[in-house]
């Protein structure tokens, strides 16, 4: 089955980024495909390459980049939400790309399920 995931919160707001990441990992481990992960609102902070959490803390940004590299997951950041929050190609973490809201709509159409995390 093809899943699409929508992340609406930053890695340090609540738990949405972690939940979305764990869900994505479990889906891949179960043999499902992730069509796309779309980062919207504060979710765009998940793509900030300049984020430097303490070394004994999980590194959410890096986790996404690794997931993208290992499983060729398409990580898309909403352009309007990103520019508002200072996320640009200059500081975009590996594996992410900046695009428009149409990518979320397309994910909703192409994937069998769209699962939303955070508000």
């Amino acid at each position: 089955m093809k899943f699409a995931i929508l992340v609406n919160e930053g890695p340090f707001n609540h738990q949405a980024s972690d939940s979305a990441y764990q869900f994505a990992k479990a889906a891949l481990e179960a043999g499902h495909a992730i069509f796309r992960v779309f980062f919207y609102y504060d979710g765009v902070h998940n793509a900030n390459m300049l984020a430097e959490p303490p070394t004994d803390d999980r590194n959410v940004v890096k986790n996404w980049s690794t997931l993208a590299e290992d499983h060729k997951v398409d990580l898309v950041v909403c352009v309007a939400a990103a520019l508002r929050r200072g996320i640009k190609n200059d500081n975009l973490a590996p594996g992410f790309r900046i695009s428009g809201l149409g990518q979320l709509i397309e994910a909703g159409i192409q994937a069998d399920r769209l699962v939303t995390f955070g508000d």
Binding site: M1, F3, N8, H14, Q15, A16, S19, Q22, F23, K25, A26, A27, E29, A30, H32, D112, R113, L114, V115, T116, F117, G118, D119
Partner: protein, 102 residues
């Protein structure tokens, strides 16, 4: 058409669980995760409403989020099934769509 409803926020913080219980249809599944797990605690303010909902809907709680909050499964009301992330994925796959109540 049967939906999987997800509730991620504590019912003591927002109306997510309440809205979900009001608007979900019999036959639906409801998964409580993140702070949403507090809604399923025995003796809590939402225990009765959830027990009532459990008669017509399948109720689930995400085990890792329960554990992360220091809560044992013995603290949950009857009729709730504990699942892990793989179970969450299976529930999402099994139902026709996933409706998030934040």
């Amino acid at each position: 058409m049967s939906l999987l409803h997800t509730v991620a926020k504590s019912p003591f913080e927002r109306d997510a669980l309440s809205s979900c219980l009001d608007l979900s249809l019999p036959g639906a599944a409801i998964l409580l995760y993140e702070d949403g797990v507090y809604g399923a605690l025995k003796g809590g303010r939402f225990a009765e409403r959830l027990a009532e909902a459990a008669k017509t809907r399948a109720l689930y709680v995400l085990g890792p989020d329960l554990k992360a909050r220091g809560l044992g499964e013995d603290r949950l009301i009857a009729g709730v099934t504990v699942v892990d992330y793989r179970g969450f994925v299976e529930l999402a796959a099994k139902h026709q769509a996933v409706q998030a109540w934040c």
